[in-house]
Symmetry: C2
Subunit: 149 residues, 2 copies
Amino acid sequence: MKIGAVARETGLTAKAIRYYESQGLVKSRRRDNGYRDYGRDNIKQLTLLARARRVGFSLQECAELLALFDDTERHSADVKKAVQQKIAQLDEQLDNLTRMRDTLEELAQRCQGDEQAQCAILNDLSAANRPMPFTLLGDTPNLPEDSHE
Amino acid sequence: MKIGAVARETGLTAKAIRYYESQGLVKSRRRDNGYRDYGRDNIKQLTLLARARRVGFSLQECAELLALFDDTERHSADVKKAVQQKIAQLDEQLDNLTRMRDTLEELAQRCQGDEQAQCAILNDLSAANRPMPFTLLGDTPNLPEDSHE
DNA sequence: ATAAACCTTACCCCAGGGTTAAGGTCAACG
DNA sequence: CGTTGACCTTAACCCTGGGGTAAGGTTTAT
């Protein structure tokens, strides 16, 4: 099976599949003409990879899942643990996003939203000392680091 | 005020401030020795920038907020509209993450989590046809594109 | 024979910086 | 006077997770 067919079957792009290979997540044999060639095992791996990505696993984490997948001595408890950790991470992200959302909601409510230049949102966001009359993300100092996960 | 002091005051890193300047979001005057020098206006802008970032605005969107901030002819309605659009974006992200979370929850429940190699999670994630007995993200084909927003 | 549809590698691009490296400046201390 | 340490400067490479494009080789069908 050539890469294009695999892409259609897994929902990945050919580019992504090559990228995963370059990162050591999957391997492929080559035909005489240099084309990558995939068998049933590869397709199972790539299907797992695609779905794990879709539910929020990072490539690093997908690599660990694939290692478990290929390990016939694995314990299902290990897989379950990884999934539960990912659930906990998602919960944390959900918390952060919810706090952002609520902060914006409160800002919006304090703004007239009319023709005037006076704007409570800009005032609150740029004020020097304690800007918000309500908690801004619980004073967590480093939110940006969460967003790239 | 030198960049280090501004960094401490706004919670940004000096690097980030220089990066914002390189992207045209803020400007700074220079002292004779080449050091960046910031006044009250700069600090207000950077405070706004830092807080807008923390509540989920992209750099591009922050640029628009700063333009409104500097525009004395602005209408507060425009600012409010931007905030409400961001709220809608956050709601969409929250939806996606919630679906991921629920999918993982169902996968985990179907897994024994014991010493055995047999694992429902890996089976479901790698199976060929209809893998999940439940909806996987509502069959949305392209979730990864949302994550980089 | 030639065009369409594949495939290959290789390069630059995005956000949002972190992390060196290599060096200039400035204050205080001995 | 010299030196140490804390600043500051630019430049340049690293990360994630690929997208996009280019330049070229292959295969297939017409």
